[in-house]
């Protein structure tokens, strides 16, 4: 939801004082606070190993916080969609079956699920490839299928863990635009993990810059540029200015780390 028309929305995710220590003693997160409101697009930005993926997994319930509280209003079944860094598709099943998987796992009827799959495929432009197998698709199209799968349950919250890191720049820019359009149309809440300053500024309303070992919030930066954003924004002076501001914050976070 564009910021200018949003009244203070209710929080979808609230993390308070969250810490995560792995079995081998690595402290991934320490005193991590995060509030994400309905309709927001928030990026977690930081160097590799700063615990941003761990934070995302904790929000999804795939990992348990060692200390602190985690609250989410999207915890019901199908309320959260997750997109991994790899497309993580089942290679033995065609695209439609892969996208339908969440609906197959959750209780529901077949007719509505056929419509939902068709809608999800259309939203990422893969309608014609429903019967293709993942290996027959390009990397960008596999990632689209993965996003369609995350959207098929109509989740309130979409979690994305460096989804475009493995793509070339042309595909990444295209998927950035498509993701923004999707977000604008569907009005979901998105938490997006990335290590790219440029990507985070282009996509987000708010960027959470993290330090590493342990992962903590170093700075929160609002990107008040209006939506919809497009290639014009990508080459604007405003964009460059935000990027410099965020890059400075990231440099500061790295200095704290080392």
């Amino acid at each position: 939801m564009p910021p200018e028309e949003s009244s203070p929305a209710h929080p979808v995710v609230t993390l308070r004082g969250v810490g995560k220590t792995f079995e081998r003693g690595t402290v991934a997160l320490d005193g991590f606070d995060l509030t994400v409101r309905a309709g927001e697009f928030v990026s977690l930005l930081g160097p590799s190993g700063c615990g941003k993926s761990t934070a995302l997994r904790i929000v999804a319930g795939l990992s348990q916080a060692s200390v602190g509280t985690v609250e989410t209003t999207a915890g019901h079944s199908g309320g959260i969609g997750f997109v991994f860094q790899d497309p993580t598709l089942m290679p033995w099943a065609d695209v439609a079956t892969n996208v339908r998987l969440p609906l197959d796992l959750l209780p529901g009827d077949a007719v509505t699920s056929r419509d939902a799959v068709a809608r999800a495929l259309a939203s990422v432009g893969l309608t014609e490839f429903a019967a293709s197998y993942p290996r027959e698709l390009s990397g960008g199209m596999r990632m689209r299928a993965s996003i369609a799968r995350a959207l098929v349950t109509g989740p309130q919250l979409l979690l994305m863990d460096e989804p475009f890191a493995a793509l070339d720049e042309i595909n990444r820019f295209k998927l950035n635009n498509d993701l923004l359009a999707l977000w604008h149309d569907l009005r979901r809440t998105v938490i997006f993990v990335t290590h790219s300053v440029f990507e985070s500024v282009y996509l987000s309303q708010r960027i959470v810059v993290m330090t590493s070992r342990p992962g903590r919030v170093f700075a929160e930066i609002d990107i008040p540029a209006s939506q919809p954003r497009n290639e014009e924004f990508r080459t604007s002076a405003d964009y460059a200015g935000y990027c410099r501001q965020v890059a400075d914050a990231l440099a500061g976070a790295m200095a704290v780390t080392s």
């Binding site: 997994r57 997750f82 991994f84 993580t88 290679p91 033995w92 993942p134 290996r135 349950t153």
Partner: protein, 261 residues
């Protein structure tokens, strides 16, 4: 590409023709008696002359092999799933599955023949050698599921049954099929070993028994004919299982897809 395929068919055929020719010439040139080394012509004639006897023996051996293979496949996959689902059962039984595998079947066969009727002992031998590759490969496949896919199934609160049927078993298919291909050849070996160990005569005697019997009677051409049939049976089993594997994996697994350059 087609040229490559022609070569792959033509070269082995040419080699076979060459070997048969050299074999035939050697036998004729040095006048080797047939009870030492029969020529290819004599082996072929014997194959036709003894066809009723050899065919019946082939059916006996193949029937045992297929039964042993079927039991090993079903048992191997079943126990791999049980081991995968219940760790304690895996810890309790897996070492014994390994012991069963590493003990040479030729050493077990005489013992089995004491406690069981001959046909059952032969079947058990075929099963013993074929069981382990199915078990080990399927276990490996079930354990190598993509961790992110597993996380995805957990995100949607999939039941254990759903994870097994929709994720683990399909993911294990390539390894399972590799295990089955090995098991096909091994069950034939198990059946042959047990038949040789059994060595008793009778209507229900397989090809391996024919080889041993012909050896005692110095009927060397029939030995060769029976051996030839055994090899062909082994090749046929391998081809059938490879075709099944290809048909199942053709759309999605790298092993079944031709690389384009």
């Amino acid at each position: 590409m087609t040229g490559d395929r022609v070569l792959r068919m033509a070269l082995p055929a040419a080699m076979l023709a060459l070997v048969v020719l050299v074999w035939d010439l050697t036998v004729r040139l040095f006048a080797i008696p047939p009870y030492v080394l029969p020529g290819p012509g004599l082996v072929a004639t014997t194959l036709i002359a003894d066809r009723a006897l050899l065919w019946q023996s082939l059916l006996v051996t193949l029937s045992i092999t297929v039964q042993g293979f079927a039991l090993a496949s079903i048992g191997g996959v079943f126990w791999a799933v049980v081991f995968n689902q219940f760790r304690l059962i895996e810890y309790s039984f897996y070492p014994y599955a390994v012991i069963l595998q590493v003990t040479p079947v030729i050493a077990i066969a005489p013992l089995l023949l004491i406690y069981m009727p001959q046909s059952l002992a032969v079947l058990v031998c075929a099963w013993i050698v074929a069981f382990f590759p199915v078990l080990a490969n399927t276990t490996l496949g079930l354990n190598s599921v993509d961790h992110n896919l597993l996380a995805l199934f957990e995100l949607y609160k999939a039941s254990r049954w759903q994870i097994l049927m929709r994720l683990k078993l399909p993911a294990a298919l390539p390894q399972m099929l590799a295990g089955l291909r090995i098991a096909g050849g091994l069950s034939l070996i198990g059946a042959v070993v047990a038949e040789i160990a059994a060595g008793s005569a009778g209507a229900g005697s397989g090809l391996a028994y024919r080889i041993a019997e012909s050896g005692y009677r110095l009927n060397i051409p029939r030995m060769f004919a029976a051996l030839l049939l055994l090899s062909l049976a082994g090749v046929a089993i391998f081809l059938v299982l490879s075709a099944v594997s290809y048909a199942v994996l053709r759309r999605w697994h790298e092993s079944a897809i031709r690389r384009e350059r």
